[in-house]
Symmetry: C2
Subunit: 353 residues, 2 copies
């Protein structure tokens, strides 16, 4: 499995600055003062650089939601019971969740992957069954995953990216569902950014002060037990990660290898990006940070990745909801770039003409 992963990683290259220059040149010829569409112009430039063509289309969009459970909920770190994970998976498939509404708004398809939910779904059409295990183990007592499980989940993510690009998807977003998953995400944030656990841990979907302090203690205990290192990203993912986070990390790698943009969601998806960057530093060229989450550790992760979020909307839902909004903003940038007339075409006098 490591060979398969290494092969994907070897395909990820930094963007070619020549494409970025060509995109900027075109933007400067459009009927507006130079640079006056700010971040929309940055998004368009990035998209041209990622796709490696002068007038790339942006039509087909997918949000892939990876769902998994977490043994660490046994420590009482979450405000919701574990069965909410599978109940929400069913809600996604019926179209009633936040991500469904926002993906419809973005014109994106939602694909839901069971990569490790602690529930037997039986045969549910539309659910993509890639269950690696019935959830991770309790990291406070043992490694969350074996190295093989972590690798297998990474490759599920790669497979999803390959499937999407094989069907002509232009832009991708990753989402998560997993009760308790801010705990492994905070643990990974601490491992990869080097910041103390208390600085990168938040209140998840809503816990009180005492539970918060307990959560920090649980993560510190797990880190002391396994001593994960950012030098061994797969090992760190196995020790204190989770299956949906591994799936997202693999999805990010597969997306970059296929030269497609990946719109990042919040705290959980960004933890996956930390793992992906540790495996292949050039992936950050393909990432668009949709928003800054309420989770205090999120900004620390984004700074570490060198990403500037598009929105600061006080969101903390996950599922890919922020990323779906990011997809609409990316598309806005691409439309400006593709659809606006040049000064010459429109017969408008330019400032420097």
């Amino acid at each position: 499995m490591m060979t398969e992963l290494s092969q994907i990683i070897s395909q990820i290259e930094p963007l070619n600055p020549a494409w970025l220059d060509q995109a900027r040149e075109r933007l400067d010829s459009l009927t507006k003062p130079r640079g006056s569409l700010g971040r929309l112009e940055e998004l368009a430039t990035l998209y041209v650089g990622i796709r490696g063509e002068l007038l790339p289309t942006l039509e087909k969009k997918w949000v892939v939601v990876f769902a998994a459970d977490h043994g660490v909920v046994a420590e009482g770190v979450s405000a919701y019971p574990q069965e909410v994970t599978y109940q929400m998976v069913l809600n996604f498939l019926r179209g009633g969740a936040g991500i469904n509404a926002l993906a419809r708004h973005a014109g994106a398809r939602v694909a839901v992957v069971d990569i490790g939910v602690n529930h037997d779904f039986g045969h549910v059409p539309e659910l993509i069954d890639r269950k690696v295990a019935y959830g991770s183990r309790n990291m406070a007592q043992e490694p969350a995953l074996t190295r093989e499980e972590a690798l297998q989940a990474l490759l599920v993510g790669v497979e999803m990216a390959e499937q999407a690009t094989a069907t002509g998807v232009d832009a991708l977003a990753a989402g998560d569902m997993g009760i308790g998953n801010t705990t492994p995400a905070a643990a990974l944030a601490s491992v990869f950014t080097g910041k103390p656990v208390a600085a990168v841990t938040g209140r998840g979907t809503g816990i009180e002060d005492a539970v918060f302090r307990h959560k920090v203690a649980v993560i510190n205990r797990a880190l002391a037990l396994h001593r994960p290192s950012s030098e061994d990203p797969v090992g760190a993912l196995a020790a204190v990660g989770g299956l949906e986070i591994a799936g997202i990390a693999g999805f990010i790698l597969g997306t970059a290898a296929a030269r497609r943009p990946l719109v990042l969601d919040g705290f959980i998806a960004t933890a996956g990006a930390l793992v992906a960057k540790a495996l292949a530093p050039a992936v950050t060229d393909y990432l668009i940070a949709a928003h800054r989450s309420v989770e205090p550790g999120h900004q620390i992760m984004l700074d570490f990745l060198g990403l500037k979020p598009l929105l600061n909307f006080q969101m903390r839902l996950g599922e890919g909801t922020g990323a779906a909004l990011g997809l609409t903003l990316l598309e806005a940038g691409v439309r400006v770039y593709r659809e606006m007339a040049t000064f010459g075409e429109a017969g408008v006098a330019d400032q420097d003409a």
Copy 2:
């Protein structure tokens, strides 16, 4: 004309908090942790409050672009020649401008109003001809408009809002086109917020240091000459305003009177909002600030209006481009609110259940 305006103003009422409470109650029943969609939930709540119904639709959207010229360009305050105003109007009508691309993205119609362009268009289908004058006069030497012209332009704006709502438009945005119009906008910002001219003046679409200092001096000269007061909003608009700014102010009043949301664009549209608020303080309940412009005075205006911008995208184009993005974000909030399943419907366990 003052009677007509007073009648519109008398119809503008603050939002009924009962609707806001009902919206929040519904949001709390949806399958997500309470408040976890942050500003999207605020947008949905505001929309329910503005429309005054529990499940309002948001389908039809209009961006109305008011175009006019400015005599003050004779002072050399702009980087572009005046003919760009009419050239851009023609570009709007052909669909090649930034606002066209972004309105298409938002699913909104663009309506273009000639409220004071210094050009004879002849018969141009699609252009809404409400020309009050061939541009304003040079405020540094005489009042920009007569009081009657200012009133007439305000009523053109009201008429546009009435026309839109009569055809079933759910949400509106206002844009501007007018070479030189950051000068009157900055003058009005100083009059209504009480801040010094240098603090609210920026570089428009791109001028150098010396031109910037000259622009501040020109505005200060005009203010010293006319001594406009925020106590007489129509008088201030006539002294140092412009026809498109007056149109936008009237449009805002008409929109609020019709209980529709108005998504504000940048510096110029927000100057119109300052005039509207001075005439009818409750209009701010109906305003959504789409973005924070690069113009330094914009944040000062937004603070004065008590509005928190949705985006900080380093944009400075005008035309309603930021507002069009704001419309898509508003729609995202409304979709979440209308389309998500409740905990009961989805069979998902709630935190407090």
